[in-house]
Amino acid sequence: MSTITETQAGIPTGTFAADTVHSTLSFEVPYAVATFRGEVPRFEAKLEDGRLTGAAQISSITVKEENLEAHLLSPEFFDADRHPVVSFAGDLERTGETAVRVTGEVTIKGITRPAVLEGTIVGPAVDHFGATRVGLELTTVIDRTAFGMTWNMPLPNGQPALGNDVTLTAHLTLVAQEA
């Protein structure tokens, strides 16, 4: 229990790796009149002394329609053949009691841009098996056109069907690794 007290005001030290069963990487983007959502289930993430890194296999992208997945993996979107990995690296800082910010860079389709993730931290806390866990919920908004994804189609009213601002969200459960 002393661990929790000591790190409450700061950032957990040591190495934590994502328990991907209990973690989710998702995206949402305005489409037509609503919001379209999907996930990238195959990824790994690590927090090492406040440095958060992650990499996702974009071929695992999951939406509710097979043909749409095929379109998302094609050169018009992620071009997964040439750019199979989407990645992030940044430094975690506390900005409030549970509020955190991660300032770093995201790489999509081979293009690297600055990104600031905002969110919350829970823990570290010891789980029912004795492992120390940290929970992070982080979100950021990127402009997909800055990453070479400019596809669109006009709606009957002339407006584009697909929004440019994509919200990326990571719900991470990170488990302390043996030293």
Partner: protein, 184 residues
């Protein structure tokens, strides 16, 4: 390296087909441009007939695309869009979408017409269709307008500027086949 050349026109004296013949003449050594002549034998798309396997002529097209390193299109413009026969052939070729022969395949699109604009709208439509199929659509742009003035009486391309642009277009397409090697 093999480039499959597909003309959107069936007409015997088609300018678009003639442009692709000129493209073959301008191909550098080591690059074979193969003109596909099977468009007329592709039946109307019907999912009920798409096996697998699909009709023989469709499977032949799918195999040719799969075996080619890149595909070079030349299309006329019918009613501000691409010919129905060409769209139909692509609809066959695009199935099933997630594994179709055009996925990530580098493609180039040029066009030609009797009018001043050279089929530029058809070319845009064709790029859209190929993009939706998952092809790697290159930045090649060549719209040959007033086509009748660009060919001699034997149907041979007689315009050096167009020939030069054809060479450049082919180079742009081939650079996408292996961009790592091209950059080296």
């Amino acid at each position: 390296m093999r480039v499959l050349a597909i003309s959107g026109s069936l007409r015997r004296d088609s300018w678009n087909t003639a442009l692709l013949r000129a493209l073959a003449e301008e191909a550098p050594s080591g690059v074979e441009v193969v003109l596909w002549d099977g468009l007329k034998s592709i039946p109307a798309y019907d999912q009920d007939d798409d096996g697998p396997p699909g009709p023989l002529d469709v499977e032949s097209l799918r195999a040719l695309v799969r075996e080619a390193d890149a595909v070079f299109f030349a299309t006329p413009e019918y009613n501000s869009s691409i010919p129905g026969a060409l769209k139909n052939a692509l609809d066959w070729a695009s199935r099933p979408l997630s594994t179709n022969a055009f996925r990530s395949k580098p493609v180039a699109v040029i066009s030609s017409s009797a009018g001043a604009f050279g089929g530029v709208w058809a070319a845009a439509e064709l790029r859209k269709v190929l993009g939706a199929m998952g092809a790697r659509v290159t930045d090649v742009e060549l719209a040959v307008g007033h086509a009748a003035e660009k060919f001699d009486d034997a149907g041979h391309l007689a315009d050096d500027d167009v020939r030069e642009t054809l060479r450049d277009s082919l180079a742009t397409l081939l650079a996408e086949v292996d961009p790592v090697a091209a950059a080296a």
